[in-house]
């Protein structure tokens, strides 16, 4: 049985009096790649934050792995899901310190694969010495790439990607999109204005129309 990993059921979102999204349904199965499309302010980012417990619906239910997402199950969801936002406020300190800290977190049981790290850095156009650089020395695009690399290194298989290619040049946008889309067993939910994500096998889901 290929049951849903994530299931948005009759989700409505309101901020105060303002209706943002009404009766939204979406089933996401393992291996799905979904591109959420809609005008800004339609609630796309909120939908992406909900499985992490960073935002909540006003009504409706969200299921992760067939159980209702609540303050208990959200921790299971966080173990399996990588959420990468467009926010570039990542860390205070060096890239190396950041990587070490993230690998010290309890939910990351795997060990840091240095070879994979080096390969990813090269693939995304980094010089080697970026590891000793501090985040305040990095450009927006560099921070964004480090964020992407980090999410891949910790070895999750569900990715919620919110405008992760927005600060990259077109060659890098293409590389990032290809990297994710080539991994067939990963489940991807993407928000992006970049057309590099609009490939075959990517299902476009309209939000808030």
């Amino acid at each position: 049985m290929n049951s849903e990993l994530l299931k948005y059921k009759d989700i409505s979102i309101r901020y105060g009096e303002k209706k943002v999204l009404s009766h939204f349904d979406l089933d996401i199965k393992k291996g799905d790649r979904i591109l959420l499309k809609g005008r800004s302010g339609a609630g796309k980012s909120t939908l992406l934050k909900m499985p992490m417990g960073f935002a909540h619906q006003t009504s409706g239910n969200l299921y992760f792995n067939n159980s209702l997402l609540d303050s208990n199950t959200v921790w299971d969801a966080r173990k399996r899901i990588a959420y990468v936002s467009q926010d570039l406020d990542i860390y205070e300190g060096s890239v190396n310190e950041f990587i070490e800290e993230v690998f010290s977190y309890s939910f990351n049981e795997g060990k840091l694969d240095r070879t994979k790290l080096r390969r990813l850095l090269v693939y995304l156009g980094f010089e080697k010495d970026v590891l000793d650089m501090h985040f305040e020395e990095l450009s927006g695009g560099e921070k964004q790439r480090i964020g992407i690399i980090m999410s891949v290194l910790i070895g999750k298989d569900i990715y919620l990607l919110d405008e992760v290619t927005s600060s990259l040049d077109s060659a890098l946008k293409e590389k990032v999109a290809n990297y994710f889309l080539e991994r067939k067993d990963w489940t991807l939910v993407i928000i992006s204005h970049d057309d590099v994500w609009e490939k075959e096998n990517v299902r476009v889901v309209p939000v808030g129309v």
């Binding site: 960073f54 990588a82 990542i90 860390y91 993230v102 939910f107």
Partner: protein, 265 residues
């Protein structure tokens, strides 16, 4: 040897000195005349009250009354921490009170039992002034650490959430902010220990010397007090953060918006 008494006339002579700052303020148009008059008046009233109050308390010297007074001091310190930081009193009063009790009262008992070696642990003459010194310092530390902690975690909410999304448990995501705030709060105590005696003679030591103690005894007390202050500040500040976390973060590990008094950021 007793200290020379300051008569009431002499006290008035002292206040006459205030003519100098008032003149300076007037001449340089500092606009501090009103403030000076108000704060000097407050100082006189508050200290006069404390003087009478402590006289009564010392004469009475009843352990239960002394302890009750410590509790009042703790409540005032907790109230002032939460207020100063702009947090919601109802949610955070209890954890803050607990942090002050554990951090100060337990250390005070140890101090009175093993350091000063008192016969009556609850002797007002020792209990209240020493507790006051502990509490005053840990109050300052607590205000620095609690306000810094909630401020930075609120300002860096995205970074905080990001660490949750990278596999941090709640306490792991919180720890870097707690660490920073605690360090910040301890810096003044550390600095004051390392400069004491050179840059400034501590007030308590000076007071003891004037009151007739030998400088050696005064120095021994001062050392003990500074260690006591440092230990109680460390404990209060650390416990303060970790106790308040329990009521200020939800089960999703996210800072509750309603722990802050006002809704405007």
């Amino acid at each position: 040897m007793e200290a020379y008494d300051i008569g009431y006339l002499s006290l008035i002579a002292c206040f006459l000195l205030l003519a100098i700052p008032l003149f300076v303020s007037h001449y340089l148009k500092l606009g501090l005349i009103n403030e000076t008059v108000v704060s000097v008046s407050r100082m006189i009233l508050q200290l006069a009250f404390v003087g009478f109050f402590l006289t009564v308390l010392f004469d009475l010297n009843n352990s239960a009354v002394n302890l009750l007074w410590l509790l009042v001091m703790i409540l005032m310190a907790s109230h002032s921490t939460i207020n100063e930081v702009g947090l919601d009193l109802k949610k955070l009063l209890l954890p803050t009170v607990v942090s002050f009790i554990v951090g100060n009262f337990l250390i005070l008992l140890y101090f009175n039992m093993f350091v000063v070696d008192l016969e009556n642990l609850f002797d007002a003459r020792y209990l209240i002034p020493i507790f006051g010194m502990f509490l005053g310092n840990s109050l300052r530390g607590n205000i620095i650490s609690v306000s810094n902690f909630y401020d930075t975690i609120r300002r860096n909410e995205n970074r905080y959430l990001y660490s949750l999304s990278l596999g941090a448990k709640r306490h792991e995501a919180i720890l870097p902010y707690a660490r920073k705030s605690i360090k910040l709060a301890l810096k003044p105590s550390i600095a004051s220990m390392s400069t004491t005696g050179i840059v400034a003679l501590p007030g308590m030591m000076t007071g003891q010397i004037i009151a007739g103690s030998s400088p050696i005894l005064a120095v021994k007390y001062q050392m003990a007090i500074m260690v006591g202050i440092y230990v109680s500040t460390v404990m209060t500040v650390a416990i303060g953060i970790f106790m308040t976390i329990r009521s200020s973060f939800d089960d999703y590990g996210i800072l509750k918006k309603d722990v802050f008094k006002s809704t405007n950021t």
